[in-house]
Assembly symmetry: D2
Homo-oligomer: 451 residues x 4
Amino acid sequence: MDHGLLAPAWAATGVAELVDDRALLTAMLDTEVALAGAQAALGMIGPGDLASIREAAVVNRIDLAVLAAGVRATGNPVVALVDQLTAAVDPDAAGSVHLGCTSQDVLDTALMLLCAKVFDRIAADLAECARLLAEHVARHQDTPMAARTLTLHAVPTTFGLKAAGWLHLVLDAAVRVRAARAALPVSIGGAAGTLSAYREYAPATGPADRVLRLPALVARELGLPEPAVPWHAIRTPIADVASALLVTTGALGKIAADALVLGRTEIGEVAEAPRPGRGVSSAMPQKRNPVFSTLVATAARQLPPTAAVLFASMAVEDERSAGGWHAEWQPLRECLRVAGGAAANAVELVRSLRVSPERLAANLALTGGALVCERVNAVPAPLLGKAAAKRVLAEAERDGRPLPEVPARRVPGAGLGAADYAKLLDPADYTGVAATPARRVLDRHDAEGAR
Amino acid sequence: MDHGLLAPAWAATGVAELVDDRALLTAMLDTEVALAGAQAALGMIGPGDLASIREAAVVNRIDLAVLAAGVRATGNPVVALVDQLTAAVDPDAAGSVHLGCTSQDVLDTALMLLCAKVFDRIAADLAECARLLAEHVARHQDTPMAARTLTLHAVPTTFGLKAAGWLHLVLDAAVRVRAARAALPVSIGGAAGTLSAYREYAPATGPADRVLRLPALVARELGLPEPAVPWHAIRTPIADVASALLVTTGALGKIAADALVLGRTEIGEVAEAPRPGRGVSSAMPQKRNPVFSTLVATAARQLPPTAAVLFASMAVEDERSAGGWHAEWQPLRECLRVAGGAAANAVELVRSLRVSPERLAANLALTGGALVCERVNAVPAPLLGKAAAKRVLAEAERDGRPLPEVPARRVPGAGLGAADYAKLLDPADYTGVAATPARRVLDRHDAEGAR
Amino acid sequence: MDHGLLAPAWAATGVAELVDDRALLTAMLDTEVALAGAQAALGMIGPGDLASIREAAVVNRIDLAVLAAGVRATGNPVVALVDQLTAAVDPDAAGSVHLGCTSQDVLDTALMLLCAKVFDRIAADLAECARLLAEHVARHQDTPMAARTLTLHAVPTTFGLKAAGWLHLVLDAAVRVRAARAALPVSIGGAAGTLSAYREYAPATGPADRVLRLPALVARELGLPEPAVPWHAIRTPIADVASALLVTTGALGKIAADALVLGRTEIGEVAEAPRPGRGVSSAMPQKRNPVFSTLVATAARQLPPTAAVLFASMAVEDERSAGGWHAEWQPLRECLRVAGGAAANAVELVRSLRVSPERLAANLALTGGALVCERVNAVPAPLLGKAAAKRVLAEAERDGRPLPEVPARRVPGAGLGAADYAKLLDPADYTGVAATPARRVLDRHDAEGAR
Amino acid sequence: MDHGLLAPAWAATGVAELVDDRALLTAMLDTEVALAGAQAALGMIGPGDLASIREAAVVNRIDLAVLAAGVRATGNPVVALVDQLTAAVDPDAAGSVHLGCTSQDVLDTALMLLCAKVFDRIAADLAECARLLAEHVARHQDTPMAARTLTLHAVPTTFGLKAAGWLHLVLDAAVRVRAARAALPVSIGGAAGTLSAYREYAPATGPADRVLRLPALVARELGLPEPAVPWHAIRTPIADVASALLVTTGALGKIAADALVLGRTEIGEVAEAPRPGRGVSSAMPQKRNPVFSTLVATAARQLPPTAAVLFASMAVEDERSAGGWHAEWQPLRECLRVAGGAAANAVELVRSLRVSPERLAANLALTGGALVCERVNAVPAPLLGKAAAKRVLAEAERDGRPLPEVPARRVPGAGLGAADYAKLLDPADYTGVAATPARRVLDRHDAEGAR
């Protein structure tokens, strides 16, 4: 059994329980009951049969090990489930269990129910992440820090803009999660998408296409939409789930990647707030490892390849692929767990994130003005010419002199007074229009948070 | 040089030329010119400088090999491009080239331009695919065929429904391609997303935030939207491109997978129409290989792992990642080529697809009624009880007798006359409500094709 | 909890139990005991402490849920394990638990122990597969069948050669599995690979480098080799495991892919032998789905992307990566389960595989000689010239006449009598030297099976 | 055409030319000539025909664009190549071109020739990398530095041990590259692996199995081994190539990942030596980006997903898969380019790597002794008991006092004098047995370098 000892991406986040075998069983039983309910509404089975099915469809009556054996014997867990469920109902109702149905209808619908549960959890966690990040953005709109490109100090930016980028990503993810959640369809197609057996069991009286109402009725029972077409081998729904989860984990992984860099011993600009027992090492008493960042980074590394299986299973043969369909299930579950775990851990990461204004300032000052070289280059450029300014700066670097001193010396007529020059060299004065996109993202959060 | 000898996914489709180095160079030059145009509009550079830049920004003046060397020397092709462009403009205009800009702004914007071109091509090809498929759906709404699940005959379906599934997928892809196309943003952020250097070069008079109009102006020049935030390290746009391409190739790959199965020598239900030189083998004169299906299937196998790189590059450190950003470029190009090639080849696949009603009918009859076992099971079930009916059928199979004979014998009182029974056993009469989803997809095509 | 309801690749194969959380816990405890044993041998801890640790290291005394919570709190399950183990030993021995050790030493060593168990199981299953396949090869060395390329009949081959290819792949996999099994190292490096804390706890007397014997002693206790260097961030061992598993699943996946094609309703050349309950459908009583082929095909689809995570984690920063290391665990387990499940299911697939000589022969005759076109082309070619012969055949095909008739008519002077011609057209006479590689693979099996 | 503008992984390294379309064409022509040579040796074709084929098989006579069109028309470039080659030879020799051959024999053999060329280049670059790294190991065996785990200072190590880990990985890669290089087989199987058509063209006199010598003769002509079995659909050779390349790029990616971290502005322990034009930024004059590290890191990110396609193509149907085979080609080329480029760039990375002893020392001192906490914990542990010592250290951290001061105060009777204590706190004295594995790797390099 799997408690998550090898799954830092989701261990102890509560997400695994939403998609474990017991949860799947519940969802499969819910699907069988919803089907029976819809069929009773259409007069395909009697109310007594429905009652008997509903009563029998209890998780604890089903032996999961038998279902697992059934997976090996028949390729999916539904055949064995139907056998057990049939045995559990009143004998008179046996013929009404899983009536006209096919394994894939039950399993695909159940998987969509699991997706819905995890998506709801993720949506809530992303909303909380966003709320916490918005505070960081607001608080640090004017906190300058070194922007880094290709690992090196580049120019100044603000911590507010950095956090705004994180928030923007989280809002992007939330949009995609909400859209994917709303589109999760039930699967009611029968053996090959024609509803043929369902139709046989529809009552002889009445219009022949009464069965066409069946998918919508099942969908209503389960709170999911009706699909436009049977999708046993038309797998856009799975691809859309994958895309939404990928953006989620990618977005959160960006936050973790930044937090890991900024929290390095030598940088120290952020840290996860210590708590008893958190981040401790079995060997090194002084360490407080950035655990949540590590857990989220783990998720971000794992999801893209895992999700690739889901996209690959779009291109499958026949009305039900031998292997293409089956290959989706465990990776889909793993994607849900990993992305769900990432969202849960990202909340804790963002909540526990402590920013050190001292270290931000110290690092900003570390290179003695090199950070504003770009600006120094810019301001005298109209006077010196761009190429000449570039050469001057290159010389300065080669000679090891503090770069910003040079142009002033070389451009005596540039009309820059000492105070102008000092301002010019102040990284805190060179954050461009960082406040604008930060503000824009806060506005977006205000607008979308209300959804 | 790469003509596509190893790239069946896109060779000779004309897509590679949309994204090759020359096309990229064009797009980078377009970006530099658009930037200069926007800066001229803002008074950041003079009209003469703009004219000089526009005149110099000619593909043939730039040495691609020097740019490639620049990639190895500086990590991207823009530094060397700017050097060459600067050398090519009027010396007075040299200072106005790439003013305040950063390599990533140019390269990311250029890549979005390439995406736009390929997306437009894909959209057109998907529309043509859809049109051709709609004809198949309409023509074959009532053509029964064997549905296959896990490689075996399952129950009857119609070729119309099969084609409707393909069409639905193509429409799904088209929706995603259009949405992704419309969202491709320019990148105008400056060294670290603060527009800082751009701002320095903005004229001293006027409001300080005049530079805030710069991204929108560049976007207007290039016909792409302005981003909400600088996205150097906020990579949702790339993930969205990847998702749209994955759905495209997955959708088309489904068609190819089915065509390959249905065209097998023993099945023969479809074939790609022969043309001189097409599908010939170097060894076997009798063969007409299903080339377009093979080419599309190739694309569908290649895309998911290639696209995984793009999703992985969402989770990167800093304002510009060392390696995370760079790892996107070639896979992005390859994804565009592969998906674009798949769309081009899918048009030919669908256009050349010939359906054999004779083989459809012959295969439908192949199993002597086993295809309608489900129905036979269904109809007497109310009389026999489901479990009993199942046993009867199992016995029949074990004994090797034609299955459908059995229940009638066993259910003498079932009131089925000989004609009823013959109808019951006719696969063509057991296609359920296959016509309904097929009709629904045609309606969707009518509604969305007008876009 | 996970019984495998969504894991057709390994459900009910018994492999999951080799690597589940309980198995991992056992392996971690074995590692702690082996470490203590080695340290006792070196005089680092007393014999009483060793006895106490050995007595306390019992799976049932450890709470797996607490370990999972520890994963979220500290990033790995070892910190919480050490806490629980320390609490369980005699208080005097508490200081001797996990002495000088680091979490990664325990977890990596435990993972190698799990790999060893699964590799042993896979090796046995591959050996059985090979044995069964060798029977097929021997039995069908002279059974002609249609070879298929790009889904179409190409030329004749033999079922013996086809099975020989499968056997060759299985032997290839076995070689790689044995090599990888033999190379699985223990990890004994201490916090950063310098053995520094281990060394502190080594007795003051004696040579300072006594601690250097520690890894070899632990390795001997556990039956695994000593690594040449500490491999906390030197991950070749993991890559080698991945490679061996990929070849295993790829090899078995080839067998499954062929079995699925050859077992199609229209082809029918092979089938999985029916057994009660196996391959049944919840909807269609007539079906006997090719379950084992499907399960193995599932595994082959899932492994390559999952294993990609393991290769990606070679390129990680520092003495222990934040996320790179952690990302390996669950995919490694999944790779082991999937490949182990594939091996177990492949044994059943091969064991249950029934070959139909009738269908092989019928399909061979299906195209009326087109299968030997290549030969017809070859034999008159010296007389007609290759290009001319090609044209003749092309005409024949265009005209719809049986191809082989043509050349004889056109080449009256070719000196082919009617009997010669009949022989020439007999597919069974055109299997080339198929027997030779088949024989060679049997010889290889004889030679390597003895290992 | 593709100069590598989007391919930082291999641009301007010279590797792309080894596998571009022209190189492939050369290899295909070499294969056709080698086949003709072998067939002439067996008397299958005349010496004059061989001479004519050899003369005609000139790269410049073949139109690559026509071959690309042929890929789209026939699914591979060989059909069109054979047409062009046939047209170029003496008309009498036309019948001897590509005699009895199949497209896959030519293309697979040609691909193996390309693999051989790239593997040779990689082997040379790995050897040079190893040589340069061995110097680092030797020079820095006693240079202490901070080991980092989960981004934080852990305990001391040596730069020698870090470099030894890199060297070990490079030697691991070299072993795998050499093994894979030696095993690259030619493909001579004919249409379906039976050599059937080859056999038809073998002279009537002599033993019927003379054709069995054909593969070995072709292999000898091309300097590659003969395969044990026809491998059109038995793809272990491709999987082995992939594995070797993955270990190569993973190994080099580890070096790059470390170099990127250690070269961060705040850390500064290593840097790529500046050279004119290298690492410059288009915007920021002060920057010297770590270009080679970035290029290698790019390669390491790209390879694992790309290679996944190759492993997936093991599990393919039939004697030649429709799509499975074709999907290998471009990813195989890309894997070769990416890994080959990584090796070329890694040489420059390692060659240009400058180590700063000052920064190593400064960072080692940064945490005021926290780095040796583990040791402080170890030494008084026998006196205090492990748990008590842990508590003491935890208190110290909570109180913000320099950790190492505490235990001495608390353990007055521990018998540690001030000098003992100072030594205990000296990180340079706490590098464990780091020298031993470093020495071991140097020995390995000495032993294996001679190969």
